[in-house]
Symmetry: none
Subunit: 180 residues, 2 copies
DNA sequence: AGAGGGATGCGTCAATTTGCCGCAGCCCGC
DNA sequence: GCGGGCTGCGGCAAATTGACGCATCCCTCT
């Protein structure tokens, strides 16, 4: 198992649910972690302590997390920043990396992937990183759930956002959550 | 806007049609340009002359253009590299930029966009993100690309990891990169 | 109350997309 | 030179999707 790091991982994400879930999961995994719901809070936390790992959501309601990257790096030059977003696009990925992000991941993403992103290269602990990638079906299920929640359970709206047929979405939802 | 540059733009793309078309178009636009169909040729050309702008295709049949980026930069440190690919994915985009690419564009792309990509060095252009969430098809594509890369392009292994039929994977890959 | 406008759940049927062969060509280690 | 794994592709039956239609519901505006 990955050993506890002396410095906490800072999670900056304006979604309270996701944020606390992530912080809790990281903690349970043995990584100190703290969350910030806004960019300002994030910067404040980063300034107040040594900080070498940040998980940053791109959509901090309204303001873009993109702008936060150089600001964080100005405060903590050696900090590694993993950008996370539910609205991934190649353009923002390129921009994020240019601004100094270490990695750019699209939600839904597993804890594994986030932790691996910080390490970026060597994966010394063959603990449970051996797990297989999500099957496409499973990934699809996760994504659908996310967008569905984002649209307050509105199936029609979700189908539109996902550019898929409403009937098809209905049928998929009717089926069991697909196994991994 | 784009004035004639003393140094030619180097186009590295293994598709002869696209390559010569691009070279011709660039030339007609007043930009000196020359093409290379393989990575080796590209490196050779870059070594033989000053070169500050390269258009690089990611799929140089077989070998990945990704590896070429650091090699080009080793020869021409100040060179700007715009990566171009018909099979764009976030994972390769991130990797390309980390390796030093200036921009990463998905085909089909207009000449305008390529030329603009060379100029946009100052990365303070107003980012227009706020896209919609990935469509499930798009998400699937991204995921497949990631796992495929993880397995060094091995289709059979990828299909196994993804628990999907090899034939199906083949068919999906044969199709265009899915739209938005 | 009554008239939209949107969401939902479902049935049907045709068009696609899978799953599952099989085969031939390649490349590589033994 | 052989066995074994990978690749591309043809073909076909089975499963899934796309496109419609229809009967509720639930709101909101008039």
């Amino acid at each position: 198992m990955s050993q506890t790091s002396p410095m906490p991982i800072l999670v900056i994400d304006d979604d309270p649910t996701f944020n606390s879930l992530l912080v809790r999961t990281l903690t349970r995994r043995g990584h100190a972690a703290c969350g910030a719901l806004t960019g300002e809070d994030g910067l404040r936390l980063a300034a107040g302590q040594a900080c070498e790992r940040v998980v940053l959501d791109l959509n901090l309601d309204g303001s873009s997390g993109l702008a936060l990257i150089p600001e964080l790096l100005a405060i903590q030059p050696d900090c590694r920043i993993v950008v996370l977003t539910g609205y991934a696009s190649i353009a923002t990925a390129v921009e994020a990396v240019k601004r100094g992000a270490t990695q750019y991941l699209a939600k839904p993403v597993e804890i594994e992937a986030i932790l691996a992103a910080f390490d970026d290269a060597p994966l010394d602990n063959p603990d449970e990183l051996a797990d297989e990638p999500l099957s496409v079906d499973r990934l699809e299920w996760e994504h659908i759930q996310r967008i569905l929640a984002e649209h307050a359970g509105n199936i029609s709206a979700t189908a539109r956002a996902l550019k898929m047929h409403r009937r098809t979405l209905q049928r998929k939802l009717a089926k069991r959550p697909v196994r991994g």
